[in-house]
């Protein structure tokens, strides 16, 4: 290190108040920790309520008209209804469910016996499907139908049925390797197909086949007359948006896949986190004021020395260096300590959170680190600005 740096430090460290710096350190540490804890908590809890691994609710809503009486529920969505929805800014996309209008018979060989049952299929546009697979396609003349089942069905069997009946549990991979016999009948046609389960959906509570297959089959096995959908799937940016729930209520639509509690819970979570982060920001702002005053006072006490250094040829930035260094070290250690605190406390609640969720929640610190680094950079930049401005002020010609 150049000798001049040591000497300036020796000159300027006088009057540095450890007490003031300690107050800043503690206050900003609290502020930073509260802010980052809010961010981390939010990114940990959010997937539980709303996200990729959907537990309840989702960014996709399935809506219907309410069932009013037992019997044929004829209320469907008109083209105008759909168009109107597409024009709402809180709805990103609308997809219609198409139902099979022909007879479907599914069979499976089990213990040498053929078990068969009546089935029905539905399809929606591919963009709404949450299963990624190459097998999700159908070409005219193909004899294999890819099928997606709700993951619930498998869970129902594994955790409900098989457990009580002393039957073996089945994995997703096992099911995917089973071929189903599918017989389609209608308009004097009757053909056998092979059904293959290619994935499981958390989002969609129905037996899905590709849209391309459905439109071909509906025209081949049934009268081609376009049937109007009775269920729609909506893609929305924010399912908690009040405008959205007002709109659905106004048109008397019912959300099928979304218990109202989840959106309320998410809303309350957002409010709580916002309050936490506001408190953290307040703490940090107060601490920054303390540091600013402390530095101003420090510079004021050392003003003659600072002037003299500039007069013997030191540049203002060189004179500012020790002060910049103090704030840099202080703020970086605050960030480091606060991240350590957060990751230690996170271990405490993650276990319980995972227990509630029923699976190991994948947690990522990236959001917290990004916010922490940005916030620290902001504080450091602000500190540098006031220090350098003050020193340039001192250096100015009178």
């Amino acid at each position: 290190m150049p000798k001049s740096v040591i000497l300036i430090w020796q000159l300027l460290r006088k009057h540095i108040s450890i007490f003031e710096l300690a107050i800043f350190f503690v206050a900003n540490l609290i502020g930073m920790t509260v802010i980052l804890a809010g961010v981390q908590l939010y990114s940990d809890i959010r997937p539980l309520l709303n996200g990729e691994q959907t537990l309840i609710g989702s960014d996709y809503l399935v809506i219907t008209h309410p069932v009013k009486r037992v019997g044929i529920n004829s209320e469907s969505f008109s083209l105008e209804d759909i168009e109107d929805m597409e024009h709402q800014e809180f709805i990103d996309a609308v997809g219609a469910f198409s139902a099979s209008q022909f007879e479907v018979n599914g069979s499976i060989m089990f213990n040498g016996r053929k078990l068969s049952t009546m089935l029905f299929f539905e399809s929606i546009p591919d963009e709404f499907i949450d299963v990624e697979t190459d097998e999700w396609r159908f070409e005219d003349g193909a004899k294999v139908i890819p099928i997606i089942l709700p993951r619930n069905y498998l869970n129902l069997y594994n955790f409900g049925f098989s457990a009580t009946q002393q039957l073996p549990q089945i994995t997703e991979e096992m099911i995917k390797s089973v071929n189903l016999g599918i017989n389609l009948r209608g308009k004097e046609h009757s053909d056998d197909f092979t059904g293959r389960i290619v994935g499981f959906s958390d989002r969609l509570n129905t037996i899905l086949v590709p849209d391309a297959f459905m439109s071909w089959a509906n025209s081949y096995y049934a009268d081609a007359e376009e049937s109007r959908p009775t269920r729609l799937i909506l893609k929305v940016a924010d399912p908690t948006n009040p405008a959205l729930s007002d709109y659905l209520e106004e048109h008397n639509y019912v959300i099928e896949n979304k218990p109202a509690e989840s959106s309320k819970a998410l809303f309350i979570l957002k409010v709580c986190i916002a309050i936490i982060i506001c408190i953290g920001v307040l703490f940090s702002l107060l601490s920054i004021i303390i540091l600013t005053l402390s530095i101003y006072l420090l510079l004021q006490k050392n003003i003659t020395k600072l002037e003299n250094l500039v007069l013997i040829g030191y540049t203002p930035s060189r004179v500012a260096m020790p002060y910049n260094l103090i704030t840099l070290v202080l703020n970086l250690s605050i960030l480091a300590v606060s991240l350590v605190i957060i990751f230690l406390t996170q271990d405490l609640y993650m276990e319980q959170l995972s227990a509630i969720a029923g699976y190991q929640i994948a947690t990522s610190p990236s959001m917290t680190i990004i916010v922490g680094v940005l916030f620290t950079a902001l504080i450091i930049a602000f500190n540098f600005l006031i220090i350098n401005r003050k020193i340039r002020n001192i250096s100015r010609k009178r």
Binding site: P2, S4, L7, Q10, L11, N308, G313, R392, R396, K397
Partner: protein, 214 residues
Amino acid sequence: MNEIRLHNVVPEIFAERKDLQSDIWQRDVTIQRGRSYLISAVSGTGKSSLCSYLYGQRGDYRGEILFDGEDISAYKISRWCNIRQREISILFQDLKLFGELTALQNIEIKNDITHTKTRNEIVALFDEFGIGDKLHSRIDHMSFGQQQRVALIRALCQPFSFLLLDEAISHLDDTNSDIMRDIVMREAKARDAAIIATSIGKHMNIDYDVCLNL
């Protein structure tokens, strides 16, 4: 830098005075590199103001000060830092040393940014001044006369074209004053620099090229 020109310069506070009798204020004076100038003054005629204007500390004057034909009033702080590191060196009347540092540290804090003299050269100057034993004494434990010598050594620890000496020998006896003169002449000659010495009576015994009354 080769010349400093003062064109109609006058401190703001004297601007309205009609009875100014001065070789510098409200005149056209050029100070050239390589020559020596004595500026004699009585108290209160603006001697320290003149030094402050030339060193970029203050700007409360009328008229123009030109460095090589360039008006200095628009110079930014970075430019002044540059000038203070390599063009103009000054021995302040109030020295502006750092009391809590030692004599040697006061020199090093300057020499470390200009890299002009070796440690041996610095020690030799201390010895020449007769304060070789004070290298590690704190400045605020030294007499003003001793401090003046340390301040001069610091002023020499940089390249310069103009050396401003603001009452450099006010607290020196004749012997030490002559030692200072010899060192100043030698160092200025080596750099082909101008010497601008101010005085309110006692002045270094140099054969000045130009004598001006402020």
